[in-house]
Amino acid sequence: MDQIAVHQDSATSTDWPVAIYRTLKDFGVAQLSYVPDAGHSKLIKLSHADRAIKTTVLTTEEEGVALSAGAWLGGDRAVLLMQSSGVGNCVNMLSLMASCRFPLLTLVTMRGEWAEFNPWQIPMGKATPQAFEIMGVTVLRLDNPDDAEEVISAAASLAYDGDQQVAVLISQRMIGRKKWTKETH
């Protein structure tokens, strides 16, 4: 992984994960945790390749909420990556962040919206913004790859400087239409 090249690249419509990575680096993010999603795979690879970011794969999203709290308690800035299906898992644990006024920056790749083919993904996808909002989390949308740096930067300021819990929902349209797997009979 040539990190210098990554830093010098300018973000294009296809390398928005690089723009996100670069913005997180600018904000001094030192811990990244994730429940994997295909939409996050490039950012996850960049994070694992970066020795300055402690990267943690989680068994469930609540763990990542706690890890973000612990990181802040120890003086680190953290970011949590998940898919929209995991948002419901976090609801009770978002109390921890609101009560203690811990910053939370979470980047959520959306399912259940643009051209979703799997009905099982739809209810949680549709409820994702509300699930955050009922717990007081500010929800920002990232719909256009060219806006990646600006939106992540705004979210990071709000979280780390404003002590807020912020979720950036990354549009399913941006990640690309999922390839259909033909159902068998």
Partner: protein
């Protein structure tokens, strides 16, 4: 109270064990899990390096992992009840993957949800949490046979090269203190204790 035949461990007292731990501490961090676990930590003597959880059942170990990764030179202790750990067993695998050597976890196992009326946990009597931890990849996990063994395991963990998990069988006594609940004060005091925040 669990009664697994394979275990030949003394039934101890949470407050007594917590006091034994706190007596040994200097600048180590301690994350006290929800309920009686943090009540006894509070009662054992307030320290800026203590973080008290009054909610978020099951997250003491994941929070401690975040602190341990952020402060690799500081030892971080996490105290958790058996019922809480059952909610987040997956965190044992997560911690085994990262394997921070500066993390010592203690599971206070009485086999009951004491604070809600002493109902037995689903694990009571047949799930061996130390076996679960070992199987999750935390090889340095063991039951403390008695109080002396607990102290020995705590001291041993201070210079361990892998994370440590210590199981203690405890009685059904409630916690002895009542932690002050203001979450932001608890956070701020802890962050001062960690040296990452200066008072205004």
């Amino acid at each position: 109270m669990t009664n697994t035949q394979a275990r030949n461990t003394k039934v101890m007292n949470r407050f007594d064990l917590t006091q034994r731990l706190v007596t040994k501490l200097k600048d180590e961090a301690v994350i006290g899990g929800i309920g009686n676990t943090n009540f006894d930590l509070w009662a054992a003597g307030h320290r800026p390096e203590n973080f008290y959880m009054l909610g978020s059942m099951g997250l003491a170990f994941p929070i401690a992992l975040g602190v341990a990764l952020a402060q690799p030179k500081r030892r971080v202790f996490a105290l958790e009840g058996d019922g809480s750990l059952l909610m987040q067993l997956g965190c044992l695998a997560t911690i085994a993957t990262l394997a921070p050597k500066n993390l010592t976890m203690v599971v206070m196992d009485n086999g009951i949800y004491q604070i809600t009326g002493s109902q037995p946990t689903p694990a009571a009597g047949h799930t061996d949490l130390i076996a679960v931890a070992v199987a999750s990849g935390l090889a340095n996990s063991s039951w403390a046979a008695d109080e002396d063994d607990f102290e020995r395991l705590i001291e041993q963990s201070m210079s361990a090269t892998v994370p440590t998990l210590i199981g203690v069988r405890i009685d059904d006594k409630p916690g002895t203190g009542t932690t002050r609940r203001d979450p932001v004060q608890i956070r701020e005091r802890f962050m001062h204790g960690m040296g990452v925040r200066q008072p205004l």
